[in-house]
């Protein structure tokens, strides 16, 4: 078995009485792209800063290729970090920025120049070494910041929401580029973000973090289709979400009545839920079929009819809001053209299979 590049065990960091990181354990196999996904303030940056060595953990250990680095100062750790605001050195040229770490290692000038040129080629910006940082666009700065770390050939590269400052279009492109760069450099990336689509698109494995703890770890697919906690179900991907009381449980299937009086059938996927208890039910918009005639929905456990209250046009990801009873339900708009003339106020029927209704124990 190969050793993981990075392994954290029981990592804990407290600020005063607040616990920012609470007994977090994970390992990252060599060459993989690992993401930590969580809302802002959940402790992601704190984990990064502990791994990079800017904060001392209160408990736990950090191992790089099997060796603890707790007693290694930040400038000697075989990890490098791409900072949230990139932190390029504005007083240096691009080549000096990329060569900074190599100069610190005492490498010969000619060798540094060669490596810097190679790195600039690698990131697709050849020949711009003599320019100043402020002459670069956001995406180019991004790549320079990564190249500045990668010339040092770190065992692990930490990236702290590096796309946060970019505009949407560029962010979409950089997602693909980052993934390609990771493959090209063949280095282990630990990437943190609050943006689920960044994590889902790029990562081999994702940890979902909430209030200092890891809620669930797995591939994007696992998190999306088999969330283990209500937080993950609500945080990863878009979803309809209702609170209610369980009426009946038959094996894995159950029936619940939402607070607004809607009777829904769902599945507990092995979780301990019993009649009379409070529960939360999550249904993804794409799991819901939209039709004009009730007959097509006969095979679904959940069927209802309602009126379209809003059309949320967003190209292929368009949705409609359907008012059924007192609930508004978000439903994917099929792209078949059948609904091209759907308008507000139209009568529609919706339905979904009971096992698509993912239920979790709820708070009373």
């Amino acid at each position: 078995m190969t050793l993981p590049d990075l392994e954290c065990t029981g990592l804990t960091k407290r600020f005063g009485t607040a616990t920012a990181v609470d007994a977090v354990s994970f390992d990252v196999p060599p060459g993989s792209f690992f993401s930590i996904l969580g809302p802002s303030g959940c402790g992601k940056t704190t984990i990064m800063r502990v791994i990079a060595g800017f904060l001392d953990p209160d408990a736990g250990d950090i191992l790089i290729r099997g060796r603890s680095i707790l007693n290694t100062p930040p400038n000697k750790r075989p990890v490098n970090m791409v900072f949230q605001h990139l932190a390029l050195f504005p007083m240096m040229t691009i080549a000096e920025n990329i060569g900074y770490g190599l100069r610190r290692q005492g490498m010969a000038k000619a060798e540094i120049a060669r490596k810097v040129d190679a790195a600039l080629d690698r990131i697709g910006l050849p020949g711009i070494g003599a320019r100043k940082i402020d002459e670069l666009s956001g995406g180019q700065k991004q790549r320079v910041a990564i190249a500045r770390c990668m010339v040092l050939e770190p065992d692990v590269l930490l990236l702290d929401e590096p796309l946060g400052a970019l505009d949407l279009k560029l962010r979409e492109r950089m997602k693909v580029e980052l993934k390609e760069m990771q493959a090209a450099f063949d280095t282990t990336f630990v990437y943190i973000t609050h943006d689920q689509s960044e994590a889902l698109v790029m990562s081999d494995r994702i940890a979902v973090m909430n209030q200092g703890r890891f809620e669930q770890m797995g591939t994007g697919r696992e998190l999306y289709y088999r969330p283990e906690t209500a937080f993950v179900a609500g945080f990863v991907g878009d979803t309809n979400r209702w609170h209610g009381r369980i009426e009946r449980v038959e094996g894995d299937a159950l029936q619940l009545v939402t607070d607004s009086g809607l009777t829904l059938r769902g599945a507990r996927h092995g979780r301990a839920l019993s009649p009379g208890g409070r529960a939360e039910i999550f249904v993804r918009p794409e799991a819901i079929r939209l039709t004009r005639s009730a007959g097509e929905l006969a095979h679904f456990d959940n069927r209802m009819s309602g009126r379209v209250t809003a059309l949320l046009f967003n190209g292929a990801a368009s949705r409609v809001l359907v008012q059924a009873g007192r609930e508004e339900i978000e439903v994917n708009l099929p792209q078949s053209g059948e609904f091209a003339d759907l308008a507000r106020g139209a009568e529609v029927h919706i339905g979904w299979a009971g096992d698509q209704g993912n239920c979790f124990a709820g708070t009373p």
């Binding site: 800017f54 930040p74 400038n75 970090m81 390029l88 050195f89 007083m91 290692q105």
Partner: protein, 285 residues
Amino acid sequence: MKAEARIGLILLLTPLLLWLSLLIVIPHIDMFLVSLRERVGVGEYRISPANYLTFLTEPLYLRTFARTAIMAMLATLITLLIAFPVSYYIAKMARGRTRSALFLLCLVPFWVSELVRTFGWMILLRETGLISTLLQWAGLADQPVEMLYNDAAIMVGLVYTSMLFMVVPLVTTLESLPDEVIEAGYDLGGTNVSVMREIVIPHATPGIVSGCIVVFMLSLGNYLTPTMLGGKDSLWFTELIYSQFIVRFNWELGAAFGFLLLLLSSLIVWGMLRLTGHTLERTMG
């Protein structure tokens, strides 16, 4: 440019231009003219470089001139060396209330007038002063120690007076350096020394240069501190100017001295800017 905008600009600039011309340009032109006069009889003057020649031929004047320049530069350097760590601590290491408190501490001495402040140093340093008494009490000296009336006392006074003018620009520029950038320096393998030399100091250069210019000019033109703390042998150039104008009523020579001092400070400031590769616009902007 629209007509109203131009009028607005003129209105805005008028006070500044008036101030500059009335208080700075005109007096200096007048001083220059006075400095070129030579008295040949009662109420009779002619234009000649005699005053400047007097300056060049009198060793006391020349020596005082050079001494003042060197001492002012030294005071600037010492102020920088003390102010930089202080500013770095205030800007980058202290947090919240500590930071404001420290900054305020730098400001406190300026609540009292320069005269009182300098007098405070006299109380501390004189023969019967606090430090002398303490030294005797501790058995480190067996007789009263006089620490006043020498160059070291002047230096202490100048550095103390100038500190704030160095700390403010330094704290401002250091604050504008994101913590992330310093951390990136360490993350990429930098040591304390190299991060300081390659990242912090280059970033702080505009603050260092503007602080040095202000402190140098203040020290060079200081009158009170050298007069009160300095002894018979530590003459300051401003004292020469004062004595020509007020004691000897020799306005012509005094004006020449004043003009030479202006020339000297301009020259040294220009040299400082050249040395650091900065332009005045970039430093002040």
